[in-house]
Structure formats: structure tokens, C-alpha cells
């Protein structure tokens, strides 16, 4: 039987969850509407049927859900908790930042919290301001929490398995606009990969573009556009943000001399600043000032035309690439 199957992004997550539940008897999977209904996006469909009471629905109690994950993880379980939207994690941020993140360090390694939080974020057409944020930067400032943002079906699958296998708390941030996309070939049954790493989505010598999350597609589209004009973009899609592959970025910029960081999160205080800082602190020689492109520093409006005015679009990314390279 072949290990390659065609799966949507959502299907790849489902397959990864099934494998974890199969392979690690200590996993439990829970969240709002994940069990009987199979998840509001259908991502956890069939899992309760297959794995019984290890997969269960919870009340709308994010603090209890995440706190329970910390406690269960301390005791040797590997809880996988779905927080339906990253925005909702804010009602329970204490359990991530003040609790999960401290377990191993403060106990001098006597305790650990091998839990995985699966969530998704970002804008989708018509979504309101409370369902549209990109909040990865908040977690990336918290030592003790690993963070990944897989974009491809393969990475969605592999990252989740790596997260569950990891003995530290990991937040895997998916994106609901990716769930129903086209099917892609996904290689199953590989051994769990170590956490960390990136994908080079295109090779080029003129400008390095670092990106993560669903907006990577726009970055690649923009890179295609400018390639036709003779601009070679080196596109690094950061799959893991903690740990972040700083060296890969520095190496690329050493080659290209130019840096653009693109994220869907708003610019100020976003992780793009960190990427820029790590490159310039290392003294990598630059032919042009580095640039960041992200959402404008405002709230996200519901109307599609307004949201588009706020979020980075392919044309703007292409313009930024041109400006960086052609000055």
C-alpha cells in the first residue's frame, strides 16, 4: 500500500491526528465541537468514532480546556486541544503564558507539559474583527512555547506529528482558508520529524523574502510576477517560528543583499521586526534597507473591500520586491 495519498490541508491534519491517536496511546483530543460533530471545519471528522472517549467535546471554557491540558500533560498524557480560533485563546492566555510555558523551566525539568494546541487564525472574507487577527507574535515573545504555522498539506501533517511528539508545549496555527483547498499529495508514515525548519518555495539571487502562514501563496504569486521582469526572489516560508531558522534567512540575505518580510499580521510589533533585527544585528551586508509588509496597523473590518485595503495584497508584495531590487 502506497504511503502517498491525495489530501486537502484539512484532510492532512485529520490524517495526522488519526496517526497520533493511533501511535501514542497517551494522546487525548478535545475541544469545542470536535468529537461528535467532527469540528466546525470538519477537520476532526471520524476521530471520535475511531478512538472513542479519548476524543471528546468540551464546554465553551477555553481556560478550563487549556488548564486541563497543562495538568493532563504534567501527568504524562499528550493532550491535543483545539482552540477554534486563535482570537479565542485570549480569554485564556494565562494558561499558555503563565502556566504551560513555566512548567519545565520552573520545576528544573522535573515536570513537563507535552501538550499541543491546534488553532487557526487570519482573515477570511467577511470575518469580523474578532475572528480575523494574526496573533503569532504574541506567542513568539513567550519563552517556553513552540510555534508552527504550516502552509502546505504536507507540512500541516508533519508539523502536527512533530508537535505531538515534542515534549514541550507547541501551538500549531493553521488557517481556515486553507482547509478546503485543492488536494495535494501527502507522504504519510514517515518517522516524526524534529521541530523546526522552513521551506524554500522559490530560489533567487536578488532578494530574500521571508514569510509564513497562508499569505505565503500571495508571496509566491508576487515572486512569479516579478520573475517575469527578471527579479529573482528567494522565498523562505518559515514553517516553524519557534524555533526559527535564523541561519537560513541570514544565509539567503548574505547572497541576495536584500530582505523583505511579509506576514498577514499587522506590522508594528509583528515577528517581521524580529526577522529584520536578526539579520541586521548579524551585520549581514545589505544593498537596500530591509522592508516589512503586513496588515496596516488597524483593526480588521468585516467588509471584504475594506479588509483588502488593510491586508497585504499580491500587487503590493510585487511592488515591494521591485522597489527593493530596482531602488
Amino acid at each position: 500500500m502506497s504511503d502517498k495519498v491525495k489530501l486537502t490541508y484539512g484532510g492532512a491534519v485529520n490524517a495526522a491526528l488519526a496517526r497520533c491517536l493511533e501511535q501514542y496511546p497517551e494522546t487525548i483530543l478535545y475541544g469545542e465541537d470536535v468529537a461528535l460533530p467532527g469540528g466546525v471545519f470538519g477537520v476532526t471528522r471520524g476521530l471520535q468514532k475511531a478512538f472513542g472517549e479519548r476524543v471528546f467535546d468540551t464546554p465553551i471554557s477555553e481556560t478550563a480546556m487549556l488548564g486541563a491540558a497543562v495538568g493532563a500533560a504534567m501527568m504524562g498524557r499528550r493532550p491535543i486541544v483545539e482552540i477554534m480560533w486563535m482570537d479565542f485563546a485570549l480569554v485564556a492566555f494565562d494558561q499558555i503564558v503563565n502556566q504551560a510555558a513555566n512548567v519545565r523551566y520552573v520545576s528544573e525539568g522535573r515536570l513537563s507539559a507535552p501538550l499541543t494546541i491546534r488553532t487557526q487564525q487570519g482573515n477570511a472574507p467577511g470575518a469580523c474583527a474578532q475572528h480575523s487577527q494574526n496573533l503569532e507574535a504574541l506567542l513568539l515573545h513567550v519563552p517556553g512555547i513552540r510555534v508552527a504555522m504550516p502552509v502546505s498539506a504536507q507540512d500541516a501533517h508533519d508539523v502536527l506529528i512533530a508537535a505531538v511528539a515534542c515534549d514541550d508545549p507547541v501551538v500549531v496555527i493553521e488557517n481556515r482558508t486553507l482547509y478546503p483547498g485543492a488536494k495535494a499529495e501527502v507522504q504519510l508514515n514517515q518517522p516524526p520529524q524534529p521541530i523546526g525548519g522552513h521551506r524554500r518555495r522559490r530560489r533567487g539571487d536578488d532578494v530574500t523574502v521571508v514569510t509564513w502562514g497562508a499569505i505565503s501563496a500571495s508571496v509566491q504569486a508576487a515572486a512569479d510576477l516579478v520573475a517575469a521582469e527578471g527579479i529573482g526572489a528567494d522565498v523562505i516560508e518559515a514553517v516553524w517560528l519557534n524555533p526559527f531558522d535564523t541561519e537560513a534567512v541570514q544565509d539567503s540575505v548574505r547572497r541576495t543583499g536584500r530582505l523583505l518580510v511579509v506576514h498577514e499580521a499587522n506590522v508594528t510589533g509583528g515577528f517581521g521586526a524580529e526577522v529584520v533585527a536578526r539579520v541586521v544585528e548579524a551585520g549581514v551586508p545589505l544593498k537596500a534597507p530591509p522592508r516589512r509588509l503586513g496588515a496596516q496597523d488597524t483593526r480588521i473590518p468585516a467588509a471584504v473591500a475594506l479588509a483588502q485595503a488593510v491586508l497585504p495584497q499580491t500587487a503590493q508584495i510585487a511592488d515591494a520586491l521591485r522597489a527593493l531590487v530596482k531602488g
Binding site: 465541537d33 460533530p37 464546554p59 478550563a64 467577511g126 469580523c128 475572528h131 471584504v304 475594506l306
Partner: protein, 314 residues
């Protein structure tokens, strides 16, 4: 118009607004997640009938009906959902997070439970501003399990703040039955344990709702603090448009459709001898209003992207 007919008109307005929204959403004129209140109209209508102009309503994402019952014009709501400049928030709120403070509608909220502390804050303000405001928080059965709701209820209780706590118990949180998420299905007991007067009522009867809210409003106005009203109801549509509702046990929807407030209220009016043409006339009036509002909203100009950065700060 006599009060019962007002109730009927209010409920029809909501029903038809929601049906219109559903159609616009299926047609692609409205984009994104939409939560309808079909079947729950009696609560908004019965409650708002007792509120005064200075009062402040805080609803959830399932709030179109509350806005309409509060007096927000259907046109402004539809234009908001249709991303028109003339929407109550110029398209920034959308279906799930709009407000219209001019009408005492202080907004929907798309974070479960989060509106309750905010409503309690509006009641806190009333302690100091001589407005005579009573504030009303609406939230679902599922929201009872969000910690901030308990916090807010306790704060309201201990400070005796003028707030009415309306729990719309439609028995589901999204796709999950509340009975699977609590041991004690009597949610009002939690309010009682905090020292808050609490009643469970038939939320599909606008008259019963109105009575409970009338008393609750008086409690608030007399400085007695919060009252908790658990209004039992059924939503007769999906949680969101597109919800296949496979979680419903067989026969449930059929039963719910029999108990739904408009059909029931019509039967009551008929039983009381109100002539058919008067009852039907109410529905037609509502249909005309919503139709006209829809046409106007559809003809309105779209939002203007050049304004997208305005109003973040003062």
C-alpha cells in the same frame, strides 16, 4: 396597534429579515459567517418591548433580531451585512459584530460571553450618570460555561448594578447540545447561587418574556441589581448558514417547528378570535418593510476602501 399584534409584527420582522439575509448570503451578496435567530424571535421582541430609550442592549453574533427589536432600521442592518457605506458601521462590523448606539443597541459580540462584562459596565456607568439606564445582556446557554460570565454576574450582584441577564437557552452551542456540557441543566441555578433572582421561562412566548423582563427592569430600576432570565427556546435553523445540522436527533426539528413562536402566537391570536386578515396583514406589513429596506440597501453604494484606516484612534 394592540400589544399582541405588535409582538407578532416584531417577530415577523425578524423572521423575514433573517430569511432575507439567508437568501442574500446564499446568493453571494452577503459574504462570510452569518448566524440567524429564526425561532428565537420572541425573546428579543418580548424583552425590547419593556426597554426604555436610555437602556442599552448587548447581544451576540446572533444579534440581527435584537437590533431590529431595539429599533435599528432593517435598512441599516442589511446595508451593514451587504458591505454598504450606509451600513450601521459602514461595513466594519458585519453580520456578527455591528452596533447602533443611537438606538440603544450597543452591539453584537463574537467572543462567547464577552458581552456580559461589558453590559455590566454599562450598568455600572448608570450608577453614576443619572441616566436611569438599565442594561441588558443577551447570551447563549453555551456562554454560561465561559468564566467571564460568572465573573460579570457576581460583580453585578455584589454592586447591585442595573442589568438584566438574558440567557437564550436554545439547547445548543454551535453543534453541541448543552445537556452534554453541564451536569445541572438548570442554568438559572448558577445565578441563584450568586444571590441573583432567577427565573426560567418559555422563551417562545413573547408575553411571558415581556412579563419577566418587566419585572427584571423594575428590579434594576429600584436599585435591586441584576435579574437572571433563562429563556428556553429553539433555533429552527442551523448555527450558521450552511450548518447541515446532523447533530439533531430525529424528529427534533419537526417538534421545534411546531413550538416556534410565530406559528404558536398566530394560533393563539386566532383562538382569541382575531380575524385572519388582520393577522395576515401583520405579516404582509413586515414583508413590505423588509423588502423595501433590502432594495434600498442593495442599491446603496459599497464601502469606500479609502476610509479603511479611519477611526482607529480619536
Amino acid at each position: 396597534m394592540a400589544e399582541p399584534l405588535e409582538h407578532l409584527l416584531g417577530m415577523w420582522r425578524i423572521r423575514i429579515l433573517e430569511e432575507t439575509v439567508q437568501q442574500l448570503r446564499l446568493d453571494g451578496d452577503i459574504v462570510g459567517s452569518v448566524h440567524l435567530a429564526n425561532g428565537q424571535e420572541a425573546i428579543a421582541v418580548g424583552a425590547c418591548a419593556q426597554l426604555k430609550s436610555q437602556d442599552a442592549v448587548f447581544a451576540t453574533y446572533r444579534g440581527h433580531g435584537w437590533a431590529l427589536a431595539r429599533g435599528v432600521p432593517a435598512h441599516g442592518i442589511l446595508a451593514e451585512l451587504l458591505a454598504r457605506k450606509t451600513g450601521v458601521n459602514g461595513g466594519r462590523g458585519g453580520s456578527a459584530y455591528f452596533s447602533a448606539p443611537e438606538y440603544g443597541f450597543y452591539g453584537e459580540n463574537s467572543i462567547v460571553g464577552a458581552g456580559v462584562p461589558i453590559a455590566v459596565g454599562a450598568a455600572l456607568a448608570a450608577k453614576f450618570d443619572n441616566s436611569g439606564r438599565v442594561s441588558l445582556a443577551v447570551f447563549g446557554d453555551g456562554a454560561m460555561n465561559q468564566g467571564g460570565v460568572t465573573e460579570a454576574m457576581n460583580l453585578a450582584a455584589v454592586k447591585s448594578l442595573p442589568v438584566i441577564l438574558v440567557c437564550e437557552n436554545n439547547r445548543y452551542s454551535e453543534l453541541t447540545p448543552i445537556e452534554d456540557m453541564v451536569r445541572n441543566p438548570d442554568l438559572s441555578a448558577r445565578a441563584g447561587a450568586l444571590g441573583i433572582p432567577a427565573v426560567r421561562i418559555d422563551g417562545n412566548d413573547p408575553v411571558q418574556v415581556s412579563t419577566a423582563i418587566a419585572l427584571a427592569r423594575q428590579n434594576a430600576a429600584h436599585g435591586l441589581g441584576p435579574t437572571f432570565v433563562e429563556a428556553e427556546t429553539r433555533r429552527i435553523v442551523g448555527h450558521y448558514i450552511g450548518d447541515a445540522q446532523q447533530y439533531r436527533p430525529e424528529g427534533e426539528l419537526e417538534a421545534d417547528l411546531q413550538a416556534e413562536p410565530i406559528k404558536r402566537f398566530r394560533r393563539q391570536l386566532e383562538g382569541a378570535g382575531v380575524p385572519n386578515e388582520i393577522v395576515d396583514g401583520v405579516e404582509e406589513k413586515a414583508r413590505r418593510e423588509i423588502k423595501e429596506a433590502t432594495e434600498r440597501a442593495l442599491a446603496d453604494p459599497p464601502v469606500d476602501p479609502s476610509t479603511a484606516l479611519e477611526h482607529l484612534y480619536v
